[in-house]
């Protein structure tokens, strides 16, 4: 019997994996993809809760999350492209001028 708890558990696991991925990868694009993974995990949780409560509000919120995620990806990748053109590097470690 697949209960919502299963989906929540899966959502948690995917979220954590995405969080660790943000910290560990150096390629900016891959970092973005890990962020997308986290957002997707959250979406899964929303949809599951919507099913649990018997109301569609969760799905509406998941929908909006998708919209915002799309906008974010657009802007983020545009920034990345601009940076890449200027610096020839897409590594997040290269923007470290604010060190002590």
């Amino acid at each position: 019997m697949v209960s919502p708890a299963h989906f929540i558990a899966l959502s948690v696991i995917l979220f954590v994996i995405g969080a660790v991925g943000v910290l560990v990868r150096r390629n900016a694009i891959v970092v973005f993809m890990c962020v997308e993974l986290m957002l997707n995990a959250a979406n899964l949780a929303f949809v599951t809760f919507a099913r649990m409560h018997g109301a569609l509000d969760g799905q509406v919120i998941a929908f909006f999350v998708m919209v915002v995620a799309a906008a974010e990806v657009v802007v983020g990748l545009a920034i990345l492209t601009a940076i890449f053109r200027a610096r020839r590097s897409a590594s997040v470690d290269d923007a470290n001028l604010m060190k002590y």
Binding site: R51, G54, V73, T81, V92, D94
Partner: protein, 274 residues
Amino acid sequence: MTHSIVLAGPAAETTRLLIYWVLAIGSVAAALGMILARRAVHCALLLAVVMLSLSVFYLMNGAPFLALVQIIVYTGAVLMLFLFVLMIVGITAADSIIETIRGQRLWAALAGITMLILLSLVIGHAVIGPEGKSSAQFGNSNVTALAHLIFTRYVFPFELTSALLITAAVGAMVLAHRERLRPKPTQRDLAAARIASSHPTPLPGPGTYAQHNSVDMPALLPDGSQAELSVSPVLSGAGRAERPPALGGPQPGGEQPPAVPGRAPASGPEAGDQ
């Protein structure tokens, strides 16, 4: 049709269980692979796997509209956007596994595990009840019901997100815009530059070998060394993962062709290591 999967009857129970477990394990494996893979393109493809699995999960949870939106918008548009940018930025073959920040991996792993434990405790303590009673809004009239909600209760966020989308689009255009500083070279200029350069002839094509014939394989010159001009500068990075084994020779260096506007500079784009 969606009924039997979405609104689980007893016969579909084992099916659901099977689908869940297979896809769950698959998506977790894909996610892990995504954060561990070397090449960025592999990461993108594994993310696509995760997203598609999630789409099936949405279906199982009575959100058919969202499932399809997930496939069309998320996987089909957003992920493709990632792949396009990967293409622009370029692929580097070489990778450095060495972590430059001391202790980062250790602490990241610790934090991740702690987060996992804590969140598990949270959901263990929370009351996650069974599925609510199913109704038509989880099935055939999902779109209508969603639209009803969006345009009545959530109309304000809807308007805001539409403004957000417009802003994002305009912003992306502004960010990616490149001002032309010199006049656009006409065909006459290009031809004149090509004749004046050291190689007026067309550039050599990539090498074609028994086991490798991709666009990024370099051709060989008569003395056995690689011809840098045979590979598009977009594709030649600071290093490359695969070499034709019988061939040796120096890595393609950063030979700079004359700065002709329109041609990408030849110094290998250093797409960041993975």
